[in-house]
């Protein structure tokens, strides 16, 4: 008896030791997370949530899956897009479910393993706890946590993804949140020109950039400190109160002295994350520097650094501004923006998408005048598509406006109830995206994002009301969430489309 038990115990003990090493080693997996040699130690508690390839994969699937939102339309990735440094393209405020707007500018997601608090006001102290906020916020995903977990438990793919990541199919709060963190922790941005220069990897900064770095160290680095370009403190940088007052840090701790203070943001990837500041009030870096140089607003809690020797702001001449901007551009990390393993298309499990055909109904406009309006609108739509694809942003803005006006001529009161309700809903969607195309005159990506959704709505109208007998085709690329209508059956092979290199392009014929 004795002789049998001890070896078994020893073996068990040995296995336990082995197992725990393997677990801890998880975050030493260089492919998942490695500390760049020019960075300090991270603050995240990897010990209690060691990264594993399966955990990161699960987190990534959750991050890109709209199942997390109440109406299954919004994912974390909708407001945090990789190509925009994980912010939302060109938006000061982001769109959540039902196109409600967030109160603040979406934050870029990178180097989160080093952050000491999360959100512009730092109201959340642990990355694991952050996701609860967008999920339950009525203007973001408007869903309850319990319901999210319930949907995941009932889904086809998640029980096995949780099993891969955590050893059993159980889906609970801890596992869900830890998986999301695991994916977000892998988002390390440390491969900009500046980083390569600092790590002596054979990359040099040019004269202008070096001069910019020097000025930056003197005039900006007291707040945007160190290799992460933030000291993670909360400060008022003199923005002046916006139309809708946002008390910032004060809302978290009610300290009078923290009114209108916000977290000092990192400054990496600025080339992709415009607009800037917590309310996205500046479109360009020039505007940001003009702010620091001459437009700092005095208030009771303005940071002392910005009011030295009785002078407001930071003294900067236009040459210095230009040099700082040249330096800031060396912080753009193109490798990070393009890194395949962060993208939705790298997912091993394809996220089931709602099929657009489920939205199509059998409806009628009732009269020829309406059909004519629809066909005229379609012509405008096709011109708009051309402008979008060719990045003619001003022309696109004009055409988007024309398209809404044209569709608005449909006399709702002459439609039967079902048709009217459907038309109104889809029309509102079109008008919404058209507005953004009009607004985004300076930003081709922003227009592009909205055009995809606008096209889906045009498809809904055209296939529900069928105003014409002419053949029409619907092209859809789930990878870039882009779609468009065309009367060509082979538009995928035209040069304009080819340059976009859409992966997984689907085509549907929309016959009369």
């Amino acid at each position: 008896m004795k002789n049998k038990i001890y070896p078994t115990l020893l073996l068990l003990f040995g296995l336990m030791v082995l197992f725990s090493f393997k677990r801890v080693r998880g975050n030493d997996d260089e492919n998942l997370f490695a500390i760049p040699s020019n960075f300090p130690k991270p603050t995240y508690h990897f010990k209690s949530n060691p990264l594993t390839a399966e955990g990161v994969e699960l987190g990534k699937t959750l991050f890109y899956d709209a199942i997390i939102s109440s109406d299954n339309t919004v994912s974390c990735g909708s407001c945090h897009q990789q190509s925009a440094g994980f912010t939302q393209h060109g938006h000061a405020f982001s769109h959540g479910v039902n196109d409600l707007l967030t109160k603040r500018n979406s934050m870029p997601l990178y180097n989160l393993a080093w952050s000491t608090s999360f959100g512009w006001d730092g109201g959340v102290h642990d990355l694991d706890l952050f996701a609860i906020s967008p999920i339950t916020n009525p203007v973001e995903m408007n869903e309850s946590m319990a319901n999210v977990l319930d949907k995941l438990r009932k889904s086809q793919n998640y029980p096995s993804l949780f099993k891969n990541a955590f050893g059993s199919e159980e889906i609970n709060t801890e596992r869900f949140l830890k998986a999301l963190s695991q994916f977000m922790l892998t988002m390390v941005s440390a491969n900009s020109k500046y980083d390569q220069y600092m790590r002596l990897e054979g990359v040099e900064l040019d004269e202008k950039e070096l001069a910019g770095l020097e000025i930056f160290k003197q005039k900006c680095a007291s707040c945007h400190a160190g290799e992460l370009f933030t000291d993670y403190s909360f400060r008022n940088n003199g923005l002046g109160v916006a139309k809708v007052e946002d008390l910032g840090r004060f809302e978290v701790n009610q300290q009078e002295s923290d009114k209108h203070k916000f977290k000092v943001p990192s400054l990496r990837n600025l080339g992709y994350t415009a607009p800037y500041m917590h309310d996205g009030r500046f479109e360009t870096l020039e505007q940001v520097l003009d702010h620091y140089a001459g437009k700092v607003v005095k208030s009771e809690y303005l940071d002392p650094i910005l009011q030295q020797n009785g002078k407001l702001g930071i003294s900067l001449n236009s040459d210095e501004k230009m040099k700082i901007i040249a330096f800031l551009k060396t912080l753009d990390d193109d490798y990070f923006i393009k890194k395949e393993s962060f993208s939705e298309s790298s997912l091993k499990t394809v996220i089931p998408k709602k099929d657009i055909l489920d939205d199509v109904k059998k409806l009628s406009f009732g009269n020829e005048k309406h059909q004519l309006i629809m066909n005229e609108s379609l012509v405008l739509y096709l011109k708009l598509k051309d402008a979008i694809l060719k990045k003619e942003t001003n022309k696109a803005a004009v055409l988007a406006n024309k398209l809404t006006l044209s569709l608005d001529r449909i006399e709702r009161k002459n439609l039967d109830i079902a048709s009217r309700v459907y038309f109104d809903k889809v029309f509102q969607g079109i008008a919404f995206d058209a507005d953004h195309i009009i607004e985004g005159k300076a930003l081709a990506e922003h227009q592009f994002d909205h055009f995809g959704e606008l096209s889906a709505n045009m498809f809904r109208l055209m296939s529900s009301f069928k105003p014409s007998d002419k053949p029409l085709f619907y092209y859809e690329s789930s990878e870039k969430k882009f779609s468009w209508l065309s009367n060509l059956s082979n538009e995928e092979s035209t040069p304009t489309i080819k340059q976009y290199q859409f992966k997984d392009l689907k085509k549907r014929a929309l016959l009369p």
Binding site: G119, V124, H125, D126, L129, F176
Partner: protein, 269 residues
């Protein structure tokens, strides 16, 4: 090596032999407004400010329980088993059961209203049972300003200036973490069993300790809270005044015998 294992096994055996005799003990929270038991929605009450109101929701956290022994020492309930969420609309949550209490003579109880700052700041792995933010704690947690709501009372009053005359008191805030300070609305409660001594004996049915919770104290205390003036209090500075009021809302309410159905524990397990 073998000897070590023998030693370990012997120690284990011995500790079993001398294991302390324990029993479980229930505490029943009786929610009142003044001298009337709380009735949701239907009953109208009056506060010190002279305003009429009714209550549609009432719930609060009680945690970190200690039992005070006759000799003045305390028995501290193991941390993970010491969190309870009492809800007016779920009677089974109003009786909590503490397990494995050593047999002894007890004269009082200490607990806190809310969730201690260590647990409020703890990692997700420590938030189970009534602290599960996707479960029982779902409506008692602020996501954007991470922390639990300690005491939540909602209702309506003709004097309220909010839509549909509702009022909402959601009081939380645990003091913040490190140098990031916030208000601290955690309050300690110490109640003596009125000179009574409760003898706990293993194998014998323990009595139920009854604790009265007078929700009117949330409004009436050092600060007379006017629903008209403050119909909604959540994170703001005024919450500290309400916390000062609620710190005295609990009192010892005698002992009773357990009803056959009262045996629900919602602690962490």
């Amino acid at each position: 090596m073998k000897k070590l294992f023998f030693l370990l096994l012997t120690l284990l055996g011995a500790s079993n032999l001398f294991a302390q005799k324990t029993t479980s003990l229930s505490i029943k929270f009786d929610n009142f407004i003044g001298n009337d038991p709380v009735e949701l929605n239907t009953k109208s009450y009056k506060n010190q400010a002279g305003e009429d109101f009714n209550i549609s929701l009432l719930q609060y956290y009680v945690s970190n329980i200690q039992l005070v022994k006759k000799d003045g020492s305390v028995y501290t309930v193991p941390q993970d088993d010491s969190y309870f969420l009492v809800r007016q609309n779920r009677p089974e949550t109003q009786t909590i059961t503490l397990k494995d209490i050593p047999q002894d003579k007890y004269v009082g109880i200490n607990f806190i209203i809310g969730i201690d700052s260590a647990r409020s700041a703890a990692e997700i792995g420590y938030r189970k049972g009534c602290l599960d933010v996707a479960g029982d704690a779902q409506d008692m947690y602020w996501a954007w300003n991470s922390g639990y709501i300690f005491v939540k009372m909602e209702g309506s009053s003709p004097q309220s200036t909010l839509k549909e005359n509702i009022f909402m008191y959601h009081i939380g805030l645990f003091g913040g973490i490190g140098d990031k300070k916030t208000l601290n609305n955690i309050r300690n409660v110490s109640l003596a069993f009125n000179k009574e001594t409760i003898k706990l004996k293993a194998g014998k049915v323990a009595p139920v300790i009854r604790i009265k919770m007078d929700a009117s104290k949330i409004l009436n205390g050092e600060t007379t809270v006017s629903i008209a003036k403050n119909p909604s209090v959540m994170g703001g500075p005024y919450s500290a005044k309400i916390a000062e009021n609620y710190k005295s809302m609990f009192s010892y309410n005698g002992i009773g015998m357990p009803a056959p159905t009262e045996k629900t524990s919602l602690g962490l397990k």
